[in-house]
Symmetry: C2
Subunit: 343 residues, 2 copies
């Protein structure tokens, strides 16, 4: 069932997952296309972004963001086309970045909508390298990680949109960069295309030993976006005054309660103490002033033009494929930034 | 066996403890009093400081400081009297702060020795409120914790020299201050003498519930010096953008390897992420510029004169009592800053 002009397909949260989400978690529903009123515009979704944080929105645990309500449309950023507009600064035919959620159409008064102009070169990039994931990498690495030339930076999910960008910026800053990714194909991409110095397969039996061998001078910055065994492999390698920006922990998103032991709490705290480590969580649009976004946007546009940053997308066709694509993403079965071509 | 002029008693590390130190860990030995040479001075120990970090020096795990060698004198700060001196700036009769270790006499060339003058008012305070513990509290709270008026600050070991100082400075800065201590007597002292708003007994069955009730607006700064159940009680109460300076984890110093589960690692990281927490370990003389010590020293001297900061010492008599006193300290069986009157 493809996108049409007279039906709004939407994907709603049918029930909160216990553990990993499954076929009962998200459901496709349809309704009439909503009508914009005075001071509003109608947006048609072209690309939907899929991101690990969406797993968090399915839960009602205390968090930084309001969870999606049962029966509510799943939240998400999209690139959309303006179909008709009574909002100043937005015209029919403009492309926009909008928090429309997982649906074909959205009526907006312009709040939190960014105009990308009538013919953006790579419209979907606003969901990735030039949007939230790229900005997350830039701000977390440079403002919390503060990498210095010659230091060793480790980043997991290294072929994903955040990790790939972290590593490439760290290379631009003169660091030794070691990625962690799932499988030989991703690791080869990380080294050959993205230019990391090394990439370790986290599925390897001797992952911790391989990581140690790839970091002969220890680790100065660990960009934390996965948690789990990668974190536990990193801890013994951290250098004095290491920095650890924390923007995700995808390996642990499906946990219900505390997992079985042993308890790594003492190891984490003792490393922080003995090595004088700074660990800092951040949520990109909460933690940094908006001026930084402009700085990021200019720097990244320049690096892309100069070919200093490479960007890989995985495009999934059709809104109905989005739920399974998200589940794949949460299990690491994606390769590059995942976007859904909705219409 | 008291201090004499012709014998140097010293306490050496006889073996590295596995778990809690015991009667085989430290041993008393004697030798002739060492003779100072050209450019050296002879120091006679008056007070020896006992501090939780000493447990770390008994281990040879990777750490920020060199461990004590087997057979070597236990490290420690002392207040000493200069007996004879060929070092510029130090005269017979001066009191000094010196890294002499656990012994009666020490020959020094002046390295890392601070002159306190011939008649300091409270010589032992240089080991506590006006020394390393006080400075640790000051720098960790103000430079990493950054408390703002009206915020809630929680500190454990609240009747100890670091915790008591953290809480009193936080009160001066206009915060709500909640202490954690072991037993009713210490809690009463923390509230009545030190002026904390509340103090929770960590031995209580319902410790976590009591802590939550004492922090109705959540926790903005947790000054971490114990680890263990206090940390795990604090985590669910942390507010967005909370700060956690980490200067110790005495509850975990005797651990061998990782303790049994459940694994609190995901809880720690998830809290850091969701609440955008900054956790930063520090070692006082490594982590801050020496100029800050001067600032601390002036501020604290003023607060003591104005009666805004109270200070409690527990004085143990005799060098031979020092090992058991340290073991008591590590188990929380002290009350106030522990010093040994050696001579």
């Amino acid at each position: 069932m493809a996108q049409t002009q007279d039906t709004n397909r939407k994907i709603i949260l049918a029930e909160r997952p216990k553990g990993a989400p499954n076929e009962n978690t998200l459901k496709l529903e349809t309704e009439a296309v909503p009508r914009p009123g005075k001071g509003e515009m109608l947006l048609r979704t072209v690309y939907l972004s899929l991101d690990p944080y969406m797993r968090g929105r399915m839960s009602d645990a205390k968090s930084y963001a309001t969870p999606v309500e049962i029966g509510g449309v799943m939240t998400g950023q999209v690139v959309a086309e303006v179909m008709e507009s009574d909002v100043a600064g937005f015209s029919k035919g403009d492309y926009v970045l909008s928090p429309s959620g997982w649906q074909d159409f959205f009526v907006s008064d312009g709040t939190q909508v960014l105009n990308l102009g009538p013919e953006p070169e790579n419209p979907s990039w606003a969901l990735g390298i030039l949007g939230m994931p790229g900005y997350t990498a830039y701000a977390g690495l440079l403002k919390i990680g503060e990498p210095k030339p010659g230091e060793t930076v480790v980043v997991a999910a290294a072929s994903g949109p955040v990790g790939a960008t972290v590593g490439q910026i760290a290379k631009i800053k003169g660091c030794r960069v070691v990625g962690v990714a799932g499988g030989a194909e991703k690791c080869a991409h990380v080294i050959e295309t993205l230019g990391f110095d090394a990439c370790i397969d986290h599925r390897a039996e001797d992952f911790a030993e391989q990581l140690a061998a790839a970091c002969p001078n220890g680790i100065d910055v660990y960009f934390e976006n996965v948690g789990g065994k990668v974190l536990y492999g990193v801890l013994p390698l951290l250098n004095p005054f290491a920095r650890m920006p924390v923007c995700g922990m995808v390996a642990w998103y499906n946990l219900q309660g505390l997992p079985e032991g042993p308890d790594h709490g003492p190891q984490i705290l003792s490393t922080i103490l003995r090595m004088k480590v700074k660990v800092q969580g951040f949520i990109i649009f909460d933690s940094f002033p908006i001026e930084l976004y402009q700085e990021f946007s200019e720097a990244m546009t320049g690096w892309l033009k100069e070919g200093k940053v490479q960007y890989k997308e995985q495009v999934v066709e059709g809104l109905e494929a989005a739920p399974q694509a998200l589940y794949d993403l949460l299990e690491g079965r994606n390769f590059g930034k995942m976007v859904v071509k909705v219409g």
